[in-house]
């Protein structure tokens, strides 16, 4: 399993996550209440999936960049889950809930 690259920074006014290094990273969404999938995902303006999926992989580049996601919930009223990095620690990056289906994260590398 790969080393983790992303660290959540909730107290930072600008960055959602900080990357310890550039390079490929895989994120997954896990459903706690119902199932959740990535319906759309773009990193730095480029789509990183072609169909709904539970994982996305992209290459982090230097600087402040955007990860834009549209989630899809099997329980649109109560769906909850988490966004995690697929790595040795399976770092939890963000909580996800059905009230916020579209998000723009900032990754600072």
């Amino acid at each position: 399993m790969a080393d983790c690259k992303l660290t959540p920074t909730p107290g930072d006014p600008v960055c959602d996550f900080k990357a310890t290094a550039t390079g490929a990273v895989t994120l997954e969404v896990k459903g706690l209440t119902g199932s959740i999938e990535f319906q759309k995902a773009k990193y730095n303006g480029t789509s990183v999936i072609t169909a709904p999926a539970t994982t996305i992989t992209f290459t982090i580049v230097a600087g402040n960049t955007n990860l834009d996601i549209v989630y899809n919930f099997s329980d649109p009223a109560h769906g909850k889950g988490s966004l995690n990095e697929v790595c040795s620690d399976n770092t939890k990056l963000k909580d996800v809930d059905a009230n916020t289906t579209a998000v723009r994260y900032v990754i600072c590398a």
Binding site: Q39, K40, P52, N66, D68, S74, D75, P76, R104
Partner: protein, 593 residues
């Protein structure tokens, strides 16, 4: 009236007094609820990261002084751009049908099924059926952005200026259909001599007669079964999102069995067991063990997601936006230094300042010091269209939530018990009314069974000179078993069903005749010149049918092919073998943007 109501509702929404929207309340509450400095700092950090709560930011923008007017103007423009509202086999009884068994739920907006063939009628005819359900128009209004959608629960559910999910759910239970007989023999012209003969010519007055509308149907779903939480449902949900990965689909037609007789025949209904289906007969339908089919296509959901993604990218400042980054750092400091009682006020001033700065304006609102921006930064990173982007995002968010709910509702809700009323006005026949109860249930993964029970009555009392005739025309029962077949790449997912139909004829089939006008498709010999009605020998009908429904890849077109055997028809007391073929198209795909 509906348009005026929409204008009033949206105007009221746009002109609300500025205040923090409900979508932002949980974020502020998280700061107030923090029990440690780290928790408080983290909660404050989430407030300034606009991308984590874009709906909150969008609503702040639309409620700001500059956003209010933009919201109204944008709505009027949208209204002008959409001046024209936008706007699938016939029920048993109308002349042509490939369905021995009725279906419980019709297409959401429109579906058209043109079928040729007859099951219990003696004469085939070409019938076109248009059908829909009452939620079709509010659905179209939501998809075109005229009205906002409010979910049953969760964020936005308490809003009043919207169409609620519960209302849509109620309207979805009620469906209707109208069948048109398009065959040439559905129209007749009668000529009556009205003047004296002059030489070899004579003046005649021509009178048209014919019934192009052959039947009308109304349906109400009395009992819905709903499963939106089980692991089985979640598996089906995942597969339905990605049909290409082998999702189960149901290519059942949207047409309903025709009612009434074919030309010249008062056969009563050919409906037997009515299947419950969702309105869209597309490739992306999914049928679970309960027998229901997916109503919402992933295509609608995907299209709404594309629109939402575009709206998100336009609304939320990019990571390199210096106006936002400068503001975020100052706002963060201001919020950290605020007392709990001042938190709302500080946040309000900070958010109003940001809205001004992002539009390229100077701001009278204070937020943790003066902005540290060059003129070049202000020019490069400002966007005067911010209010329009906010409106677009709110609309896109509402529509996406609508599509999510629709997608789930189709798979989760399955009609179990449906009540149907059919009015049938076949050519040269006494019109009939049929009341039918439909029970539809699935068992195992790919099987479902449907039962029908019905009775038909003549709308007017038959002549007393017809032996055995009464208002009660017939009673019927039917059963159909469906099996979903493995998907084929170019044919979608076919289905195979077998049906049995029994009709007890209480009153004989009666045809109205005019001595000077022949009946379409029927030649009468030895008929008395004074006869105005003819009737056939009564007898019980037994009909069996085997039907294969094929699809066409990812399109909404379906081709039912069927063979049937009956011991007699409504007129002819001899066994009959028949073949039926049809085509149906679901117009709901046209409503996707």
């Amino acid at each position: 009236m509906k348009l005026l109501l929409s204008i009033v509702l949206l105007t009221l929404g746009a002109l609300k007094v500025y205040g923090q929207p409900d979508t932002c309340a949980p974020l502020l509450q998280a700061v107030l609820n923090a029990t440690t400095p780290d928790q408080r700092n983290n909660a404050i950090g989430e407030l300034t990261k606009l991308g984590g709560h874009p709906l909150c930011f969008a609503e702040i923008v639309t409620r700001s002084p500059s956003g209010e007017r933009a919201a109204y103007v944008s709505f009027i423009k949208n209204l002008e751009a959409h001046r024209t509202d936008k706007q699938a086999g016939s029920s048993t009884g109308t002349g042509g049908t490939t369905n021995l068994v009725s279906k419980g739920v019709t297409a959401q907006a429109l579906s058209v099924a043109a079928e040729y063939g007859a099951l219990t009628e003696s004469v085939s005819s070409q019938v076109v059926t248009l059908q829909g359900s009452l939620d079709g128009i509010p659905t179209a209004l939501i998809r075109q952005g005229f009205v906002r959608y409010c979910p049953k629960e969760g964020q936005g559910s308490e809003d009043r200026e919207c169409i609620h999910q519960s209302l849509l759910g109620f309207l979805r239970r009620i469906s209707y259909g109208v069948s048109f007989n398009t065959s040439t023999n559905s129209q007749a012209v009668t000529g009556t001599a009205t003047g004296p003969q002059t030489g070899s010519a004579q003046l005649v007055t021509f009178t048209p007669s014919g019934n192009q509308i052959s039947s009308a149907t109304g349906r109400v779903v009395l009992w819905n079964a709903r499963d939106a939480t089980s692991s089985t449902f979640q598996e089906q949900w995942k597969k339905a999102l990605n049909p290409g990965t082998g999702a189960k689909t149901n290519s059942s037609t949207a047409s309903q069995p025709p009612q009434g007789g074919a030309n010249g025949a008062a056969s009563g209904t050919a409906k037997d067991a009515t299947k419950s289906t969702c309105s869209r007969a597309g490739d992306n339908t999914t049928k679970n063990g309960s027998g229901g089919t997916n109503r919402a296509s992933p295509a609608f959901l995907d299209s709404a997601a594309d629109t939402l993604m575009s709206a998100l990218e336009s609304l939320i400042p990019r990571a390199d936006n210096k106006i936002w980054k400068d503001w975020a750092n100052r706002a963060n400091q201001a919020l950290k230094g605020a007392r709990d009682t001042d938190l709302g006020t500080v946040w309000e001033h900070c958010s109003l300042q940001l809205i001004d700065l992002l539009q390229g304006k100077s701001s009278a609102n204070q937020c943790g010091g003066d902005p540290q921006l060059t003129d070049a930064d202000k020019k490069k990173f400002s966007d005067p269209n911010l209010p329009d982007h906010a409106i677009s995002f709110i609309q896109a968010s509402s529509e996406y939530r609508f599509e999510e709910d629709q997608f789930v509702a189709c798979m989760a809700e399955k009609p179990v018990l449906t009540l149907e009323y059919d009015y049938n006005q076949a050519l040269n026949q006494i019109s009939t009314s049929t009341v039918r109860l439909i029970f539809d249930k699935g068992f195992k993964k790919n099987w479902s069974v449907t039962f029908n029970g019905a009775f038909a009555i003549y709308d007017s009392t038959p002549s007393s000179s017809i032996p055995g005739a009464s208002r009660l025309r017939d009673s019927q029962v039917g059963v159909q078993v469906d099996r979903k077949l493995p998907a084929l790449s170019f044919l979608g997912t076919p289905s195979l069903n077998g049906a049995y139909y029994f009709q007890y004829q209480n009153s004989p089939s009666i045809l109205n005749v005019t001595p000077s006008t022949p009946l379409a498709g029927i030649a009468l010999t030895g008929l008395s010149g004074s006869a105005t009605q003819v009737f056939a020998q009564k007898g019980n009908l037994h009909v069996g049918q085997l039907k294969l429904v094929l699809g066409s890849g990812q399109s909404s077109v379906r081709f039912p092919l069927a063979f049937s055997y009956s011991n007699r028809t409504d007129l002819i007391a001899k066994p009959v073998w028949r073949g039926q073929i049809g085509i149906s198209y679901d117009f709901d795909a046209l409503f996707a943007k």
